[in-house]
């Protein structure tokens, strides 16, 4: 059948969310084009690049940094104009940013969806936990999540599993390593709820991928593919007939009559523009590139850019400010055996405290710590037999705690296309305005510091590294809401302004909660795919 369109649907971005949608539509027999700004890379190439890296602490290190698809950490791309350097981490290659993650696959709690109503802060989501639950289950099966079906993940001491789930985890959780078993013993009796981290990491052969072999390298790259990455669904989508075009940087979305999106334009590394039409469009290019694309797509009719009648595109740049300290415990615990994030612990995950301060999810990391320890000893001039003794002593006792905090959406935190700086393709570079100086977060950070002192005391620790901050899990820049006047997409992920333009990925998340956003973003993407399939 001859069609007036290049495809039924065009998906911009081949990360986990875009690829899930492309796969679902292609499997339903729809013609799909999946566009990716970066190149296609094989796991073997990424592992080789990792092994050859001098700075292995740079989680973006093994991934492409190309003139047309710059490394988000590189000095040639993101421009920081805010009080706090935000330094978002995302990857531009087929499969997207889940190439480097620890696989954390959490559900939000029912109360996370109604923070305004319950606690008077932030915003309510336009949908509730029950609306999303079936898609959480779907996402867990698509990604392959291993987890514990018996625990109260709300960390409130319930004697039954929570939140409610319509199907069990596809795979049982991996056992803790010795250190985390010991941590559980110590912390459980001292006011903390210690939980298995549900993870998109195989505990048996699943979906033609192997079980975790304990390579201890989830980030920056799992060498064997036991850990899920978006490349899995990019491949599945292709196998189902989707056409994947890599090195295709979409820089313009065009709207036609009635507000319907008619076409997108992408530029290839040779500088040539290509125009494609479709019935439906899904922007899934992550929380920095998606709003940048919408804001770049200005026209006489849409002087504020596409989907931006609310003025909220690019605003509410949220994340989960992550604090980190480390110390040397008294007893040998031996981090660095097995997956890198097997466990979390909470003081509380929900409750009235959220009226006045941000909650946080604590993790004791499980990375081989020799590099940091040896580098510090050498800086201190330690050589000879003492160097070996200290490396062994400290590596066996190294504890690093990280804590992701929830942050309230703030329109002043934003990403805009630079009006002065351009990349190699002549496209505006992203400019970020961000501040961590938020009273709600700062109050939460004080509680976190008290927990750090407490936990360090329980292990008889002496400080190794002082508190530092990072800003992972960028989100909120095309915020979901029921009111078109102050939000960009509705509860289905459809833009309020354009009936055939959907947005997928963490940029749609109304509120971050304390847990990693990937599973929620994936569930929302699958829900959007359902909505689209009802119409085409």
């Amino acid at each position: 059948m001859v069609s007036d369109y290049d495809a039924d649907a065009i998906v911009i971005g081949s990360g986990v969310c875009g690829s899930l949608i492309a796969n679902k539509l292609a499997r339903a027999g729809k013609s799909v084009i999946l566009l990716e700004a970066g190149p296609r890379m094989d796991r073997a190439d990424i592992v080789n690049r990792y092994l050859g890296l001098a700075n292995k602490a740079n989680i973006n290190g093994p991934y492409p940094d190309l003139p047309h698809a710059r490394d988000s950490f590189g000095k040639d791309y993101i421009i920081e104009k805010g009080k706090t350097v935000n330094r978002p981490s995302y990857l531009r290659l087929v499969g997207g940013t889940t190439w480097h993650w620890a696989g954390a696959a959490w559900r939000l709690l029912p109360n996370d969806f109604k923070m305004k109503t319950l606690y008077g802060v932030g915003r309510d989501w336009p949908i509730g936990y029950d609306d999303l639950e079936p898609f959480y289950s779907q996402a867990e099966h698509e990604l392959g999540v291993s987890g514990n079906d018996r625990e109260d993940q709300g960390a409130a001491g319930r004697d039954h599993p929570f939140p409610p789930r319509s199907s069990p985890y596809p795979m049982p959780h991996a056992p803790f390593d010795y250190m985390h078993e010991r941590i559980k013993q110590v912390l459980s009796g001292n006011g903390y709820k210690v939980l298995y981290e549900p993870a998109a990491r195989n505990s048996r052969i699943y979906d033609e991928r192997p079980a975790c072999a304990g390579n201890n390298n989830c980030t920056p790259v799992c060498p064997i593919g036991a850990l899920y990455s978006g490349s899995v669904h990019a491949s599945k989508a292709e196998a189902a007939g989707a056409r994947l075009i890599d090195n295709a940087v979409v820089h313009r979305i065009e709207a036609g009559a009635g507000g319907k999106i008619s076409a997108i334009v992408y530029r290839t590394p040779d500088g040539v523009d290509h125009r494609l039409t479709a019935r439906y469009f899904i922007a899934a290019a992550f929380a920095i590139e998606t709003p940048k694309l919408l804001l770049m797509s200005v026209s006489d009719r849409y002087p504020q850019g596409i989907a931006n009648s609310s003025g909220m595109v690019g605003r509410n740049l949220n994340c989960q400010p992550e604090s980190r300290i480390s110390f040397i415990a008294e007893e040998p615990l031996w981090p660095g055996r097995g997956p890198v994030h097997p466990q979390v612990f909470f003081r509380e995950r929900d409750g009235d405290f959220r009226k006045s301060r941000a909650g946080g999810k604590h993790v004791i990391n499980n990375n081989v710590p020799n590099q940091q320890i040896a580098a510090r000893l050498l800086k201190q001039g330690v050589i000879g037999p003492r160097l070996d003794e200290e490396i062994r002593h400290q590596s066996a006792r190294f504890i690093e705690i990280t804590t992701q905090h929830e942050l309230l959406p703030n329109p002043e935190n934003r990403i805009v296309p630079s009006t002065t700086e351009r990349d190699a393709l002549g496209l505006p570079r992203p400019e970020i305005h961000f501040s961590r100086e938020d009273p709600y977060l700062l109050a939460g950070a004080e509680a976190t510091k008290r927990d750090y002192q407490h936990v360090m005391g329980l292990f008889g620790g002496r400080p190794f590294e002082d508190l530092r901050w990072a800003h992972p899990h960028s989100q909120g820049t095309t915020i979901m809401g029921s009111d078109p006047a102050n939000s960009v997409v509705d509860g289905q992920g459809r833009t309020h302004d354009h009936p055939n333009l959907f947005i997928a990925g963490p940029s749609v998340m109304t509120m971050p909660g304390m847990v990693n956003p990937t599973l929620t973003a994936s569930a929302l993407a699958l829900r959007s795919a359902d909505a689209i399939l009802h119409e085409i």
Partner: protein, 200 residues
């Protein structure tokens, strides 16, 4: 995609590696992925024995080297590296890469290294344990060159920041003191769940 069990292959560094249950999107093998799931206790013991013997004969070898005028800079670097790290089994190929990287990074390195080598030979240092008792330890410039060389061997990297150069990963000496319990990340694959046992 397909899954292959326990593939052995030769790595880019000429060693035999094993990948367990690897998932290969392209169906081809990683060229330099090193995965040694088990370092056997026997191998560790053997290495310790070799070290012990080498240690016994080191002093003699060392004074012979002083007498031999024909020692090249590369040979001298390997000899001094063995002395400074206290490890007699350092790999000559890694030594050559390290010297090359250090020389490329700092045009003065050859001169600085020459001065250190001369000072070490003059001091008659045969065992790094005695380093603090030498005048070299109190000389900031010589101490700095010493630490630079030891750092390269331990971290497997020459220099810092964006211009840092990797000379070895899995053989970086920082991993050796814990090798019986942990492996360099991405090279230590084993059986699923093997990590739950308490390290001995």
């Amino acid at each position: 995609m397909n899954i292959a069990d326990d593939i052995s292959f030769i790595t880019a560094h000429g060693r035999i590696g094993t990948l367990r249950n690897v998932c290969l999107e392209s169906g081809r093998l990683p060229e330099a992925t090193l995965t040694f799931p088990v370092v056997s206790r026997r191998k560790v013991l053997l290495a310790a024995l070799v070290n012990a013997f080498a240690g016994v004969f080191m002093p003699g070898a060392s004074s012979q080297a002083i007498a031999a005028p024909a020692e090249s800079e590369g040979e001298q670097f390997l000899r001094i590296s063995r002395l400074l790290t206290g490890k007699s089994d350092l790999d000559p190929a890694i030594a050559a890469r390290t010297l090359e990287a250090m020389t490329a990074r700092d045009a003065q390195f050859s001169t600085r290294f020459g001065a250190l080598a001369k000072a070490l030979d003059t001091a008659g240092l045969h065992d790094i344990t005695d380093f603090e008792r030498t005048a070299i330890a109190a000389d900031p410039a010589l101490k700095q060159t010493t630490v630079e060389i030891v750092s390269a061997w331990y971290l497997g990297v020459v220099g810092e920041g964006e211009t840092a150069k990797l000379v070895t990963y899995e053989n970086a000496l920082m991993f050796r003191p814990t090798r019986d319990v942990t492996a360099p990340p991405a090279t230590g694959g084993g059986e699923f769940g093997s990590w739950s046992a308490k390290p001995q």
